[in-house]
């Protein structure tokens, strides 16, 4: 199905839009926002973009961090946990897409650090645009925790759209 989708994409000349999602509300909001504004059902099947939804699954070793005693035993549990989470994420993304009546979507789960996964996905699909949510961290949290949206905004080779959830208090 992947080759078929790619063939149709190149024939129709659709630009590819990659949406990065993870297990957070912010990224699902980003997906919904994107579907709403770019893939309206009334436009029919003539949406100018082909959607690829990419979820990054962190490697178990990165989650466990420095190996302590018994890290090897924990590994399989962490692995299955991560796999469950990423499946759930993709399921939810599928639901969101079908509720917006968008059928022409590819879903991918790639293992690795979210930053690299998204930038590589952009390269692989020759995407025109990468959409990411934003956790809305402040400056300090951003430096400490790191920001995927920041990294992608600087390093992706295509246009980047950062969708934020509007602040509740206004």
């Amino acid at each position: 199905m992947a080759t078929e989708a790619e063939a149709t994409a190149s024939v129709v000349g659709k630009s590819v839009m990659v949406v990065g999602i993870d297990d957070s509300e912010h990224s699902f909001y980003a997906l919904q926002w994107t579907l709403l504004h770019f893939f309206s059902p009334a436009a029919g099947s003539s949406s100018p973009f082909k959607l690829v939804v990419v979820s990054a699954k962190p490697t178990p070793t990165s989650v466990i961090g420095l190996a302590g005693p018994g890290a090897a035993d924990v590994l399989p549990f962490v692995e299955s946990d991560l796999r469950k989470i990423s499946l759930r994420v993709i399921e939810k993304a599928k639901e969101i897409c079908t509720s917006h009546s968008v059928a022409d979507v590819e879903f991918e789960v790639v293992e690795g650090d979210a930053r690299n996964v998204l930038c590589e996905a952009v390269e692989k699909h020759h995407a025109e645009i990468l959409v990411v949510g934003s956790h809305g961290y402040g400056a300090i949290k951003r430096t400490v925790l790191g920001s995927v949206s920041d990294y992608c905004a600087h390093h992706a080779h295509c246009t980047v759209m950062i969708v934020k959830k509007p602040k509740p208090k206004h």
């Binding site: 630009s15 980003a30 600087h154 080779h157 980047v160 759209m161 950062i162 509007p166 602040k167």
Partner: protein, 179 residues
């Protein structure tokens, strides 16, 4: 309030207010062209019988504050006479007009209508403020593609907007010339 949070698609595509930040740089004009091609033309060009615009396009140009040009203590007191201030102001206004004209020309060539707004002040803050005031759905900025260090020293409008704007931000990179 419910309209901005979870808009219900009543008539086809949701009408977006898109704010594009323009200045003299090639990057921002490329960003404008990219936005027009991918966000606006795609909607209209496909079926000419249903000319449904994607939404409102607003061009925003930030005019640098005047102080920058006057605060140069060269030698003994240099007085900024009123004529100097006037001529600098005029030059700035002409500059802004040129930028807006160029941007509007790009829009016109693609048969897209655009409004233009000139705001005065520090570009980073004023663009974000303008986005908030106009309740934009999407803010489009170009990017000079600066490296990390330069970004920290020179400052980056796209960086600031990405962090501080209240609405989604689209950062358009210049096309890669050498791959």
């Amino acid at each position: 309030m419910e309209e901005t949070k979870e808009p219900v698609a009543t008539e086809g595509r949701e009408k977006m207010t898109v704010l594009v930040a323009v200045d003299e740089s090639e990057g921002s004009l490329y960003a404008l062209s990219w936005a027009l091609d991918n966000l606006f033309v795609a909607a209209v060009g496909g079926a000419p019988n249903k000319p449904q615009p994607l939404g409102r396009l607003v061009l925003v140009h930030a005019q640098q504050p005047l102080q920058q040009f006057i605060m140069h203590p060269i030698g003994p007191a240099v007085y900024a006479t009123s004529s100097v201030i006037d001529s600098v102001k005029k030059a700035q206004e002409q500059n802004s007009r040129d930028v807006i004209e160029r941007a509007k020309g790009i829009c016109r060539r693609r048969l897209v209508e655009a409004e233009a707004v000139v705001v005065a002040g520090d570009p980073k803050e004023t663009i974000c403020q303008a986005a908030e005031q106009m309740q934009t759905d999407l803010l489009v900025v170009g990017s000079r593609g600066l490296s990390k260090i330069r970004r920290a020293i020179l400052g980056s409008v796209s960086d600031y907007c990405a962090h501080h704007a209240n609405c989604p931000v689209l950062i358009v990179k210049p096309p890669k010339t050498s791959h």
